[in-house]
């Protein structure tokens, strides 16, 4: 019996490679759609339908881009959990900071991306997320600095488009390079082309399967006067959404801001030994409490949305 390690020596960096491949998928499919998408509130919906219906392979590119975005976020969250679990930031504090920054960029990329098809359900998702951002101090200032106001109009739409297709991808690439440079210092070698090819093929298969079996349903064009009966928020927003509903506005804003700050400076305040999490007892207890809280608020948020 052959061990997995022998056939897959890159196991240690499996997740990172997956993120890289996924990012590449997103960049390629997104780049393809740039040729056909018309960045306007009126034409956005029609041009998206045009990509899906009339452009060769447009259907696969669009749905793979959508599924890939979810996977990329999921893998990046896993990555940050991995860094925390093995305390990889012990001698490399900026690895943590850059990865968290990358995750924040991805959240923002996701948020700006869901507006672009101008579909009613997606439009209302953006409205809900905007409501959350509006209540977080500093973040709301940054948001209004770039987008002007908390309304969706033609100007905001074009800014979303530019951020989604140009600025954030560029910043993400820079951050990714920085992250991988950090890894390089830890002597990454044995670059196996075939291993990456295997991951690539399986991932392509998964994305294609999901695109065919569960494509995105375009119910209707956006309508600011017609709220859908239920607006399903992205899963990672649910805990925050729950807190937004049940906490006083100011307290909620400060809490989220503090949480973001705390995550940023975690490598400097975490004085535990550089061991895996199950051997760091206090860290384990704290992270379990945080995880359970996130799960519970997430579940409540799901039923309350």
């Amino acid at each position: 019996m052959l061990s997995f390690n022998k056939f897959f020596p890159l196991k240690k960096y499996f997740l990172e490679i997956l993120i890289l491949i996924n990012f590449l998928f997103e960049a390629l499919t997104g780049f393809f759609m740039l040729f056909y998408y018309i960045p306007s509130m009126g034409k956005g919906y029609e041009s998206t339908l045009f990509i899906i219906r009339d452009v060769a392979f447009g259907y696969y590119f669009f749905n793979m881009h959508l599924w890939g975005a979810n996977f990329l976020l999921f893998f990046s969250i896993l990555e940050i959990v991995k860094i925390f679990y093995y305390k990889l930031y012990e001698n490399n504090k900026f690895l943590w900071v850059f990865t968290f920054l990358f995750l924040l960029f991805l959240f923002f990329e996701y948020f700006t991306g869901i507006l672009l098809p101008m579909e009613n359900n997606l439009y209302w998702k953006v409205e809900r997320v905007m409501e959350i951002i509006r209540d977080i101090p500093i973040l709301n200032f940054i948001y209004s600095f770039f987008f002007g106001n908390f309304l969706i109009n033609e100007f905001v739409h074009i800014r979303f488009y530019i951020f989604h297709s140009l600025i954030i991808p560029f910043l993400s690439i820079v951050i990714l390079i920085l992250i991988f440079l950090k890894f390089e210092r830890e002597n990454v070698h044995n670059f196996y082309f075939f291993d990456i090819f295997i991951i690539f093929t399986i991932f392509l298969g998964i994305l294609l399967t999901l695109s065919i079996l569960f494509p995105f349903k375009h119910v209707e064009i956006y309508n600011p006067f017609k709220t859908p009966p239920k607006v399903y928020l992205p899963l990672f927003i649910l805990p925050v959404y729950f807190l937004k509903i049940y906490m006083p506005k100011t307290l909620f804003g400060l809490f989220i801001l503090l949480a973001i700050l705390l995550i940023f400076i975690l490598p400097w305040i975490d004085k535990s030994k550089p061991l895996p999490l199950h051997k760091r007892k206090i860290s384990l207890i704290i992270s379990l409490i945080v995880l359970i809280t996130i799960l519970i608020t997430g579940i409540f948020g799901f039923y309350r949305q």
């Binding site: 056939f7 392509l204 065919i212 079996l213």
Partner: protein, 381 residues
């Protein structure tokens, strides 16, 4: 004082308003003010006099009595010379005397509607003005001032619910939605020559707009037979003021008013009803399929045109049904149904074609497995 009046006359060029300032607001908005028709045109007197006595002297009428109103208005409005340049008809007075209102007025009834009751006194606006009492949108309310007055209408044995009924009907609904072609009181009863439509006339009144429907109705057995019996035409099934949106249900409900359930004629009515309902169901089913395809999304632009065609045939079958000729109705309904079914078949075919992408999946995974196996095999060696 006289100097003051003189100065005001020079500055305003409007003598009466110096004292009668209470009418200034109303009068200055009116069409008469805009067309420079001065107070003396209706009230007489001298506009330029600086003395009250002189101002109220020269053929002064003051507040006209009700019986004088028509005469005063028609001084200008029956004059072809004056009216021609404005493009306004000058036969209103003649028409008025042919109306129920005019007839009663001639008999000495001063309570009936006169010019000022509908058009106002000083604040007369052009009927194209949205604020005018005679504007299409305001006409039901203007007529309703008298025709909704229970005590007044009781004297003449007229129903005082007509305006309320009209407001509940489809015509008023369409008018409220902004369709100014939708009929109001004047379109059926006339304006100055207002008379209720009698038996044998209703079909003509409704037929002004529902041209095709009238054509088919006149071909039917009902047309002649109902006239002989002295029945109203369209109103028997559709009501007169409370005209509801035509629905296929009428075939089941209204036919029973005259025909028994077992009669041969009622069987035909039931058949027509079934024909309409089944066609409509087919169209609805097709629309559902189209909506479903839109969400996938599959191209449906060509279907939208076809389904409109099917709907048009069904819509055409509506007027045709007034002829009561089953074969004729069938020809339209079948055309509509067959188009709907054709679109359904094509829609289902497109959906299947879309779903056939799933067949590609096993091959994809076989290929992936093969590739991985190949790599493992190479490694092993």
């Amino acid at each position: 004082m006289k100097l003051f009046i003189f100065l005001m006359l020079i500055s305003q060029n409007e003598g009466c308003i110096i004292c009668h300032s209470e009418v200034k607001n109303e009068y200055t908005k009116s069409i008469h003010y805009k067309e420079k028709v001065k107070c003396d045109a209706c009230h007489g007197g001298d506009l330029n006099a600086i003395d009250i006595k002189k101002a109220h002297h020269d053929g002064f009428i003051g507040k006209p009595k009700r019986k004088e109103i028509i005469k005063i208005c028609s001084k200008c409005h029956s004059s072809p010379k004056i009216m021609k340049s404005y493009g306004i008809p000058f036969d209103q007075e003649i028409l008025y005397y042919t109306s129920e209102h005019g007839e009663a007025f001639k008999r000495g009834n001063e309570e009936v509607a006169l010019c000022t009751d509908c058009h106002g006194h000083h604040e007369i606006l052009s009927s194209f003005d949205n604020n005018s009492r005679t504007n299409i949108l305001n006409l039901p309310r203007t007529c309703g001032v008298c025709h909704s007055d229970f005590n007044m209408m009781k004297k003449y044995n007229i129903s005082s619910d007509v305006v309320l009924e009209y407001n509940l009907g489809i015509h008023a609904q369409k008018l409220r939605e902004g369709n100014t072609n939708s009929p109001t009181c004047k379109d059926c009863h006339g304006t100055h020559g207002a008379t209720p439509a009698g038996i044998g006339e209703i079909e003509k009144v409704c037929g002004k707009c529902h041209i095709k429907t009238r054509e088919y109705f006149l071909k039917s057995k009902h047309a002649e037979f109902w006239k002989e019996l002295g029945y109203g035409e369209c109103e028997i099934c559709h009501e007169n003021h409370y005209v509801k949106k035509a629905s296929h249900k009428l075939w089941k409900e209204k036919c029973l008013l005259c025909h028994s359930k077992d009669s041969k004629n009622y069987k035909i009515a039931e058949e027509i009803y079934t024909l309409f309902i089944t066609t409509q169901m087919e169209i609805l089913k097709t629309e559902e399929i189209i909506e479903d395809l839109k969400k996938i999304p599959v191209s449906v632009e060509d279907f939208l045109g076809r389904i409109e065609e099917a709907k048009t045939y069904l819509l055409e079958a509506g007027p045709v049904s007034h002829s009561l000729k089953l074969e004729e109705i069938k020809s339209f309904a079948i055309k509509s149904k067959s188009i709907a079914q054709e679109v359904q078949r094509e829609g289902i075919r497109r959906k299947k074609l879309f779903e056939s992408r799933k067949l590609f999946l096993p091959f994809l995974w076989l290929f992936i497995l093969f590739t991985i196996s190949l790599i493992i095999y190479i490694r092993k060696r």
